[in-house]
């Protein structure tokens, strides 16, 4: 069966904009509560790396773009897309989980799989998502 690209999204975020939102185990700020799932928060708090939250945010944005929606023009929620790192020391080992309206849209577009690519340096994170049907 031939595979076709059903959507593509790319997002870039500046790390400095997230550094002010440094989270601690004592208190999760309102911004994080609005955007990240409890699993993302607990998963990322265990890590010393300061790029996991920006990567999570960028991954959500890239998925919105690949699905052709925005959180302001659809029922999609920031928490419908989760980026989790099973190994706290390895940023390149990750899983993406879809739920809610994101999962619904993904199925509606008859997507069968997706590829996610994360890249980063000292200043930026970039996430690219390609959906295949």
């Amino acid at each position: 069966m031939t595979e076709t690209v059903a959507g593509c999204g790319i997002d870039i975020e500046e790390l400095i904009r997230f550094r002010a939102k440094k989270l601690s185990e004592e208190g999760v700020d309102g911004f994080s509560e609005m955007v990240y799932t409890p699993d993302e928060i607990s998963n990322n708090l265990k890590s010393d790396s300061d790029i996991k939250f920006p990567l999570c945010f960028s991954c959500k944005e890239a998925f919105f773009k690949a699905l052709g929606v925005s959180w302001m023009n659809s029922n999609i929620s920031w928490k419908d897309i989760e980026l989790l790192f099973p190994d706290e020391k390895d940023v390149l080992n990750y899983n993406v989980r879809l739920s809610g309206y994101a999962r619904e849209l993904y199925e509606k577009k008859r997507c069968r799989r997706f590829e996610t690519q994360l890249e980063f340096n000292d200043e930026f994170v970039v996430v690219q998502v390609v959906l295949f049907s």
Partner: protein, 100 residues
Amino acid sequence: MGKITENTRAEVTEIVYRFFSDECEVDINSINEKTNIISDLEGDSLMFLELIEIFKKKYSLNLELKTIAKYILRHPVETIGQLIDTQLLMIEHENNLVNL
């Protein structure tokens, strides 16, 4: 729910103008109610979420992101003036915004 006074409007306006001036590194005097958030200031989702968080904290608002998204879906926000009006409605109606 908060009652909107002239003082609240002035306070919200000041916060919004200062926020975009700092975030977008533009002169505060170059911002006015007709300034377009995307095309003139290159605003993005992160800025919008930060601003919501500032107002939620400042006015102790009981306001879900989904409620805001549903409202904006019906009343798009493009300019600084529209954003200020929307922030005032959020302060006044909180989660009842969805019924407007």
